[in-house]
């Protein structure tokens, strides 16, 4: 009787103590946000865990791919026919687009604009995700040794993916733009009006415009405005046509361009930082100091 009662008391006391310690650590981490001992601890843990995570990912990735392939075999025939038709249609569009590309290049030269693909990038493999279903982070296999620093933009072939927020020598953590803690300064391509896109977890991104004199049309391309990310990167596409409700304030949703559930390889834009942006013109200074030769992309 006595021993079990004492045991319960001890475990309850330990429970309360551990909870208090947990809250203290969380408070300290939130209050110190940025350079602190917690950042160092996180970096150390990431460095230690990275080899194991990469090894598990190395083993699991082909297995998952194989299983995916098996499960998709039934639909391959139909998919093949559909893709052949798609290829024919795209070849036609490619011929039409070639002429347009020449015109765009001329216009860019005239306006001294540089497309994002001219920026130096480092290709990285995503080998780990967040530790819970609530997390919207990814861990990549490139770090400070590859010229990656906190704040750099991460993109894939479809558009903006996120932003680097923690870097170790050989890995980096990327907070996705779907994370509610991430906001992106944007402009709508067809009207050139600016706004802010904010993550909403698994739901579509939210676009807030505070000075919207024109409506946003469905499918309108939303691009980064160059304030925190390099300008001209596709963030997503407006979900619906919407005009300002009250005054000039407009709120709508944006379908992200990047397919976050299928992220595999990404590119970290190392040749640009917010400090490189000219506040007057918002045009990136491509020749600003960069960590890699713009012409030599590493893989």
């Amino acid at each position: 009787m006595f021993p079990s009662g004492r045991r319960l008391d001890r475990s309850t006391a330990l429970f309360v103590t551990l909870l208090a310690v947990g809250f203290l650590i969380a408070t300290f981490d939130v209050r110190s946000s940025g350079d602190s001992v917690t950042t160092v601890i996180r970096g150390g843990a990431q460095t230690l865990a990275a080899p194991v995570q990469e090894a598990i990912d190395f083993v699991v990735r082909p297995v998952v791919g194989f299983v995916d392939g098996i499960s998709n075999v039934a639909g391959l025939s139909d998919q093949n026919e559909r893709l052949e038709a798609e290829v024919r249609r795209l070849e036609q569009r490619l011929r039409e687009t070639a002429a347009l590309e020449r015109r765009v290049a001329e216009l860019e030269a005239i306006n001294d604009l540089a497309p994002p693909e001219d920026l130096a990038t480092v290709t990285a493999l995503i080998y780990s995700a967040g530790a819970s279903t609530f997390d919207h982070i990814r861990i990549i296999n490139r770090g400070s040794d590859d010229g990656i620093i906190v704040g750099q933009a991460v993109v894939d072939e479809d558009g903006l993916v996120g932003r680097v927020y923690l870097v170790t020598k050989s890995s980096a953590r990327v907070r996705l733009i779907t994370d509610p803690l991430v906001s992106v300064g944007v402009r709508v391509q067809d009207t050139n009006q600016t706004g802010v896109v904010t993550g909403r977890g698994d739901a579509r991104l939210r676009l807030d415009m505070f000075d919207a004199t024109q409506p946003v049309s469905e499918g309108a391309v939303v691009l980064t405005d160059g304030s925190l990310f390099p300008p001209g990167i596709v963030v997503g596409f407006a979900d619906e046509t919407k005009a300002a409700d009250v005054g000039f304030a407009l709120r709508t949703t944006v379908d992200p361009a990047a397919a976050f559930s299928q992220l595999d390889f990404v590119k970290v834009v190392v040749g640009w930082s917010p400090l490189d942006a000219d506040p007057e013109s918002e045009v990136p200074l491509i020749d600003a100091p960069s960590f890699t030769d713009p012409g030599s992309e590493r893989q």
């Binding site: 650590i25 969380a26 300290f28 995700a129 609530f134 803690l181 739901a203 559930s261």
Partner: protein
């Protein structure tokens, strides 16, 4: 319970978190992943002494914090609460697989909700995210599916040997 078993138990939780961050990056049916670390903590609470279970839950949660994107201490606190509740229900005179599975579902649900509340209090804005309920329910269901292998593995690695007439 020897310190060796505590180390093994801790290794199990750490392995669960590492699998969570790698395997379930690829395998996400319906866009959700199970809460494997939490499930391992629940399973360990069945076989460990209370103090050891709480200590391992806190340490495992802290490791999950280190690999996650939220403030440190939130998962540590959440795992500790889940382990404490699991310890409270393990001594009840209720047995049988359905009850255990129901317990796993309920404890995971409570754990996910606790983390969401703590995360929101610490500025993560989790509760007001669209699809929040899915993040509570679906991982809890996945944990029910994974409960048997995880409990089996936990049992064979950390459960103290039962004494018989011959020992």
């Amino acid at each position: 319970m020897t310190s060796g078993k505590v180390i093994i138990a801790l290794g199990l939780v750490i392995a669960a978190v590492l699998i969570q961050t790698t395997v379930f990056q690829h395998v996400r049916p319906l866009g959700y992943a199970p809460a494997l670390g939490m499930l391992t903590v629940i399973a360990l609470a069945r076989f460990l002494d209370p103090e050891q279970a709480l200590f391992i839950a806190f340490t495992g949660g802290f490791f999950q914090d280190l690999l996650g994107g939220s403030p440190l201490g939130l998962w540590a606190s959440t795992f500790t609460i889940v382990a404490f509740l699991a310890l409270k229900v393990r001594d009840r005179e209720i047995v049988g697989t359905p009850v255990v599975l129901l317990g796993v579902f309920g404890l995971t649900l409570i754990g996910q909700f606790t983390y969401a509340v703590l995360g929101t209090l610490f500025g993560q804005g989790i509760i007001n995210r669209p699809g929040f309920v899915g993040h509570l329910l679906v991982p809890a269901l996945y944990n029910v599916v994974l409960a048997y292998p995880v409990f089996w593995l936990t049992k064979i690695t950390v459960k103290p040997p039962e004494r018989t007439w011959a020992t």
